[in-house]
Symmetry: none
Subunit: 132 residues, 4 copies
DNA sequence: GTGGTCTAGACCACT
DNA sequence: GTGGTCTAGACCACC
């Protein structure tokens, strides 16, 4: 689901880019899937069509989508490879950052806590065995 | 204990910087503690004094140690505060990087594996007690 | 023009750092301008390449220049912003120091004299036109 | 005249120290001159006597004044020498700072402007010749 | 060719 | 003894 948060200080077109990119990279969008048209999405989100166009243009530049003039915008057929590259890069960066954090004296428990925070596991699920 | 690995492609002086910085930041070195002299450490590690000097100079620039010419090199008295700032900065960077990794589709299990790798839990301990 | 004074008690590499930094900050060096190679400058100034290398390394750490291994050393493209920040910082420090000096009983005439000394106005120019 | 500014974020006893030190160093107080008693000054400034005492104690430690128990506090007979040392030190520091500022690209006119600001010459006095 | 690292050996100023 | 600077000469990886 594509959404935007007007109160967020991040520009709307950046929210759109991150949003669609994440959906594509995480496999929620299929290769060559037809994306909503600029006008349609602008109407749905009550946003200026120019903003949508700006986001689509940047996504095309990133090879995440491609445009067929007069037909619409589609998810790149290479989206799988792009996703794999992105994953590998983030994983490598994370490996390095973990080493830095450990060297700075950060304990494993603290990182586990960050993980809980990042993956947003509600307290009920985590401590569910109390009531089972 | 200060050591260097000649086979490591990382420069010796960088190994020394990271090594001593970690010792100081993790509390193994006391504030104002007297470090081995340039010549002494060079002899102990079978390394040229210039290389030790290069490492000590950079550590002084980072405010991790301070030098009294004619007296020796000493752990900075502010080392505690420096360590805390470093920890906070690395933790914040890690939080951001974890969010990026998750958005790229990295699963929590993969990060747990990286954690095992980072904190160097021997394979025996990690898998042994599960099914035995 | 980059020069060094062997008779000066200030270390050669510090002279080089100050010298090049001043040239860059005052706009005599263009962003991304190619600096003399380590060996070339060493030959020109009749100085050991290691000393040049030490100066270049510190300038890179200060973000005044950047190195492309195998290509050479270049003036930082951000040199303009770096110069502006430096100027503002020095001006503020000077403002504080002037207040201290005045409180210590230093008169304005003495500071004017220091200014003449600092900006090296030849005696002829300074006194000549007053009574002539 | 000894004054304090309650709204200033600088501690009152530091204001007192700077204030009295400046008066002594600038020659407004004579060697061996009798300073107001702790109680008298406390009453005049509507300040706790302990604060006055703390300031007098620090000034005695700096050899700016000396205390005769039961008699009172007096300006040090060496105040002249102390003032000269202080002046010389501030002048030297200023000389160095001026060199730094010049190297950062600060022009002489800017420093002249700072001087006007520091020595607080009202515009009327400076441009007095307009109405003379 | 370039920057970057390391070694060996020397000298200085300071404690 | 200590840190700090400098030289001379070598080797590596990269372009």
């Amino acid at each position: 689901m594509i959404t935007v948060d007007m109160r967020d200080r991040k520009p709307i077109y950046e929210q759109l880019i991150d949003n669609i990119r994440t959906l594509a990279v995480q496999g929620y969008l299929q290769p060559d899937e037809h994306l909503p048209s600029v006008r349609q999405l602008a109407a749905d989100l009550a946003i200026n069509p120019n903003t949508i166009q700006k986001a689509y243009a940047e996504l095309e530049r990133q090879n995440v989508i491609y445009a067929l003039p007069g037909r619409g915008n589609f998810v790149s057929p290479n989206i799988g490879a792009i996703a794999r590259e992105e994953r590998a890069r983030q994983l490598q960066t994370l490996r390095v950052q973990l080493a830095f954090a450990r060297r700075a004296g950060v304990g494993r428990e603290e990182i586990e806590a960050l993980l809980d925070e990042t993956y947003q596991i509600p307290t009920e699920e985590r401590t569910g065995d109390i009531n089972e």
